[in-house]
Symmetry: C2
């Protein structure tokens, strides 16, 4: 592991307050770029571009470095780090935001260090699509560029988001975002409509129902791991993304068949992530745990080998 | 096909009025026993036990007979046939009942003909669990007994339903019913809790998200077929049940591995059923269409063979 091609990840670095029926954390390390970087770091070297304020604890910097996450692109600005406070009800499906303080993130302009611009694998985590476009302007010709987004940008920056979709290879959305973007209920039709907008592959994350991956003419349904207890869903989508791009970079193979395996590695990392708060579970994984759960996914989905 | 062990199916025979955003039908052949019998008839001989009134059209009797559904157990009573009227909104997930007229079904007492009592495969479609118990009293020792149910019985006949669950091998529920019965949100935990109540296997149907099959220590996630258009979801669960028990009876194999394949055959029949109103699509299937879609399911779920 971690022998693959380096991955450029751009997105938020945050300090989170999260409460669920199973506990709570305050000032916990979070943010889309952090969750995805840690997940990806099990597979390949990561180059993180984001921003933090003066209050960002050194222990988090040390932790990220210890996971071989390169921080040459992490900007330090005067002010407070981006903070999110939210809670989840018993069904854990929907995050309820109590407070968002953009702080230094409000004036974030992604500057991709020269040494990062040749990255073959690029993940544009959930940020303003105009910033995602700025990243795409700065990288040379990635072999696989992936974007994620959220309902806020679908509502408020639709045109920029459509520009991003035109230029990426893979788009991630969750089910409600896909329905919102396309204005139709059927996820299969929504995914096929998104393919028309640009990406070669669309992956729709369905939480407890797994994920679907749609490309031109193919359809893959990935099962969800049968967790009996989810403690904190924060970062599930981001750790999915990290596991996905991490596996692809580690194999340097963007074929449809390999992207299916990557979807299962993404599901694997996401399933671990939600078993504890913040990055507790994700920061202490052993490679054999990842391999073991991937095998469980094979068992879970299996009914007959292909003839 | 149709070479398997005979299957006893007990449940409703109905005349339905159904409206969806894609059209409507009036006085259409329906009922849980009918949908499941027609689906099962592609795999094995079916023995249907139910009741109809004087108004039940002879053409429906002829159609069922033409599908090799044995009607020696179909009671004919003076009065009107059971009638259901309902509609679906655009999301097609939830049936809205406009009117239910039990009619002759209100006084239905299942009488299992002597020749049926040795049936190795028994499907108790959604009826009053007290009637399901009466059926179980009359059959000798089925190799596989399966029950289905609905929210109304969970609310109003919980004790009788728990008695049924104690005595069947396989229980089918949809996701909301499983959550309602067990009072917990997690479907995996609900399924495992139901296993404690009696059945060896629990199958939870999740509509557009496929199905999960849980037994003691195993977990199977069946994908859903990527239909872009669903015209009428009526009978989806029943045609799933029919395809499931039909395949098991045709192979006379109740191993966990074979029940997984049966889950896919159930999903196959359900996916055809919802593509048109009433039994239109289900009544004109070709065996090669069933085999073809089963193969598509293998492609849809495949990411790596078991090692």
């Amino acid at each position: 592991m971690r022998k693959g091609e380096p991955i450029l990840i751009v997105g938020s670095v945050a300090l989170d307050n999260v409460k669920t029926p199973f506990g709570e954390v305050k000032d916990a390390l979070g943010g889309a770029a952090v969750y995805s970087s840690i997940a990806a770091s099990y597979f390949a070297p990561v180059r993180l571009v984001g921003v933090v304020g003066d209050d960002f604890p050194q222990k988090h910097v040390s932790f990220l470095s210890s996971r071989n996450v390169d921080l040459a692109g992490l900007q330090r600005m005067h002010g407070q780090t981006f903070r999110w406070s939210g809670f989840y009800e018993f069904d854990l499906n929907q995050a309820h935001t109590l407070d968002t303080q953009l702080n230094v993130f409000a004036s974030f302009k992604p500057e991709i260090p020269e040494a990062y611009r040749d990255s073959k694998y690029v993940f544009l985590a959930n940020i303003d699509p105009e910033l995602q476009l700025q990243v795409l302007e700065q990288v040379r010709s990635p072999k696989l560029a992936i974007c994620d987004t959220m309902n806020y940008w679908i509502e408020n920056k639709r045109d920029a988001l459509l520009q991003v979709l035109k230029r990426v290879d893979v788009a991630f959305m969750n089910d409600s975002e896909a329905r919102q973007l396309c204005g139709i209920h059927s996820l299969v039709r929504a995914a096929r409509q998104m393919i028309e907008l640009g990406p070669r592959v669309v992956i729709i994350k369905k939480g407890e129902h797994g994920a679907i991956m749609v490309s031109n003419g193919t359809y893959f349904s990935a099962p969800c791991y049968p967790l009996e207890e989810v403690k904190d869903p924060t970062g599930a989508g981001d750790s999915f993304a990290g596991g996905f791009i991490g596996y692809v970079a580690s194999t340097d193979d963007v074929s449809e068949g390999n992207l299916r395996k990557a979807t299962i590695y993404g599901s694997t990392l996401a399933s671990f992530n939600v078993q504890d708060f913040s990055l507790r579970r994700l920061s202490s994984l052993k490679p054999e745990e990842i391999a073991g759960r991937y095998c469980e996914f094979k068992q879970i989905a299996h009914f007959e080998d292909l003839g």
